[in-house]
Symmetry: C2
């Protein structure tokens, strides 16, 4: 054991650990689940699907864009030739510079970069003090603050639905919250052109950008889910067009559950997902060649006994790997997802989410969505689970930082200094690195059984409550320009008075 006095004295003088979690590179060697030939066959089957079976598109404007791009149209069915897909993949950028509220939160999206996002889009929120409830404005606001706190969550997703805010005004609330409580890349739902347009205006105004500046790089992102199998609905098609035209970031994600909305096999489900992603990317690039777009997938299996979705399973892991191989084939940045089917923050939730995260990491995903706090297959975001999953993400970020093995680290001197059966607590190498060598957990506790029992014998999932409560109490929000907040509020007041903008579907 180190001498207390010496340790206390040194604690003030030795540097604390500092690791940049804001921009990560994926250090894990990519893993293949299929051979190169198998991947080529899947790509070919996807192209054949688009050419021969077609894609149902519900938005007439989108059908028209496909038609002008060379697609064969029959009613609402669009048949897309491979030359159209090839052209889209040529114009889609391989590197995207996404701009946040401050420069050191800007993100470069390309194969090899690594971005985490907590669970998103949930109708419910849950925590151990207030229980499970339909999401509210307060929940959204709190979860934005908690997400803002952790550098390892580099972008801001639509955590829970603020169901107590009317749908025609909700985008004002979510935009105002994201702009004033965080400076991370914000999310905008694709719920029709009016909401999207107004959200762009609020964002552009708040960031103080000219039209050219706003269009140069993306300043926000949206997620586009196809309706598998082979359907693109109105708001999603609208989003693919509107985000393309404003050159804002769009992440395409077919949500394909093996055995339900997709074939039961990993190969079949990913073939379908790939076809749908290619169709969506093609529309996006036809609407504005060169617009920033991420390839994506979210493919897991259902439990064939009940039809219930499962996450963090071996099939989910393999689906991420297969999607990663296809992403590398087409060269685009891409997203995958983790998450859990568990009904509360427990060992199952921890197991499943981490297993899914490793699938994304070894698949080389650029953006890992739903990587913290996402329970019930997306029906709930859990405050406590968000904290405990962030612990894992922080540890992954530590691995991204790597380690050194130079002369100082190998430290033959330290080995010389300590006699057989001695200890290294007091050697110079230890003392110089006392405060900085190891990751300090936010939740995990190394107290022994006796001490832990005296402190109340709390499991980690219960200790997590205090972690998020402390974050909310600290209320560390970014500095904002008061004038811009006033402008934003004026915009919202005026738009509200004018009747708001209902979602379109």
């Amino acid at each position: 054991m180190p001498r207390r006095g010496r340790k206390a004295a040194l604690a003030d003088t030795t540097p604390k650990r500092q690791v940049n979690y804001r921009q990560l590179k994926n250090p894990f060697p990519p893993m293949d689940v299929f051979s190169t030939d198998e991947i080529a066959s899947m790509h070919e089957a996807s192209l054949r699907t688009l050419e021969e079976l077609g894609f149902r598109v519900l938005l007439p404007d989108a059908i028209e864009i496909y038609r002008r791009g060379g697609a064969r149209i029959k009613d609402d069915m669009v048949f897309i030739g491979r030359e159209m897909v090839d052209a889209a993949l040529k114009t889609a950028p391989k590197t995207i510079n996404a701009r946040a509220g401050v420069r050191d939160r800007d993100l470069k999206l390309e194969l090899g970069s690594l971005i985490f996002q907590p669970g998103a889009g949930a109708p419910h929120a849950t925590d151990l003090t207030r229980g499970r409830r339909p999401g509210t404005a307060q929940d959204f606001r709190e979860l934005v603050q908690i997400t803002h706190h952790f550098d390892v969550l580099q972008i801001m997703p639509p955590l829970v639905e603020a169901q107590d805010v009317p749908t025609h005004l909700r985008h004002y609330f979510t935009m105002e919250t994201q702009l004033t409580l965080t400076d991370k890349l914000p999310f905008i739902y694709s719920r029709g052109a009016p909401q999207v347009q107004q959200s762009f205006e609020m964002l552009q105004g708040f960031r103080g950008l000219t039209d050219d500046e706003f269009a140069e790089d993306p300043w926000c992102f949206t997620i586009i889910n196809t309706n598998s199998p082979r359907t693109l609905d109105i708001p999603m098609a609208r989003g693919l067009i509107d985000f393309a035209r404003s050159k804002q970031l769009l992440i395409v994600t077919p949500f394909t559950l093996m055995g339900a909305m997709a074939p039961i096999t990993v190969a079949g489900a990913i073939t379908l997902s790939h076809a749908e992603a290619l169709a969506a990317i093609t529309l996006n690039q036809l609407a504005n060649p060169g617009a920033p777009v991420c390839y994506g997938t979210f493919t897991s299996n259902v439990d064939m006994k009940s039809g219930a979705p499962a996450f963090g399973t071996p099939a989910h892991f393999q689906a991420s790997l297969a999607a990663g191989q296809l992403a590398r084939l087409i060269g685009l940045p891409w997203r995958s997802a983790a998450g859990s089917a568990a009904n509360l923050s427990d060992v199952q939730a921890a197991n499943e989410n981490q297993f899914g995260v490793w699938g994304c990491l070894m698949a080389g995903a650029t953006v890992v969505i739903h990587s913290a706090g996402w329970l019930e297959g997306g029906l709930t975001v859990s405050y406590e689970q968000l904290i405990s999953d962030v612990e894992v993400l922080n540890m992954v970020a530590e691995l991204c930082a790597g380690a050194k093995a130079g002369e100082a680290e190998i430290g033959f001197d330290a080995l010389t200094e300590v006699q057989p059966s001695g200890h290294f607590f007091a050697v110079a190498q230890t003392m110089a690195r006392y405060n900085s060598e190891f990751y300090e957990p936010i939740l995990h506790d190394y107290a022994n059984f006796g001490t832990w029992t005296e402190r109340g014998a709390k499991p980690a999932q219960e200790r997590a409550t205090k972690v998020w409560q402390d974050i909310l109490a600290a209320d560390n929000r970014p500095a904002v320009d008061g004038g811009r907040v006033e402008d934003l509020n004026r915009y919202i007041e005026k738009a509200t008075a004018a009747g708001g903008a209902p979602p379109e579907s």
Copy 2:
């Protein structure tokens, strides 16, 4: 949703999923934490440590073997030349065929193979029905039965200490339990020559082996921990010699906690661990060239605030990676370890153990020790945590089995069969694979929130109790030859009457 009638009818006729978990190959691409040059420097520093700083050896017989092998001796300090290490690494086998009680549990240990073992060597046991207590014979017996049940735990370790059995008779009890309740590769503690010799005799007799057969391949294993830094105590040195002479499997594991018994850096701690492992392997090979020996490490960090050991941390993960690079350098099969510092089966335990397991997997460990149920940094084995960690190991084993993407799996026919926005529940591809496509969890539950609440709203760690209780109730023990059991019991009676064999230290 599938039609119930059709599904029920098909459930009887379609094949159930069958995946061999008994012999695994590691499918994960190995990850390097250090450059080739850095690893070469660490290896060099390890050799220099053995040559210049020396290794303290407490057993005179062992010192004598080192001396005859060419080491310089000064009192109890042994200085080992690199030519001695080189010679040992030349004679140590690169492939070891370990023989279990039945042929389909035999194991090939070499770089690339993958073996899991649950938590071992704990003084305490814990479960949710009986609480935490000092380990007893009943605990040992139950944990052997639970370990036996899961194919993914391929070898049988010394789970908990049966502290209600006198130490001079304990090896009779553990051997009898391992031989009659499981047919997996058994463990023998190196607690002095008399216990080891008697354990070998019990094993050889029970398996019905001639002396030549017993010596041809190993039929049991032990773990040798050095006393870091740079010390080898009497029973460990004895084990290195006795297991070598009987050609039984020995796994060398320096247990080096960064910042405590080892340097604070990953590079320094692994350099020390590597030096100690090489010293132990050298003794083993000097005692009997060609004896089966595994390289190994167990290196994690302490919490520098309290000195408490931590597991499943980024530093632990990196230490596994570094050890894997050194194992590949010397070409030997090797062990690493997972485990948790948590005080009960909770989200921390799940997070840490899985994180540590991934470190071992990406490091290419041949044997992953303490990969299920190991809490409090080894002070307790938890029944519930064992179950929930096995869930993760099973999922890893599923990944080892891989996936196919042939014509049948890609299934263009299935894609053709389903209309846009339709479902795949009823297509031929789904029906043919209904029972066999997906891993079925032992603990994880996919019920929705309503159903799960109706069933009692139990977290996974509580549901795990029923899983192990059901295993014990089923009591599926292997078939044993009644005559051999009688012989074994006679041997034990006689040896007990003769006074047993106390451990030596």
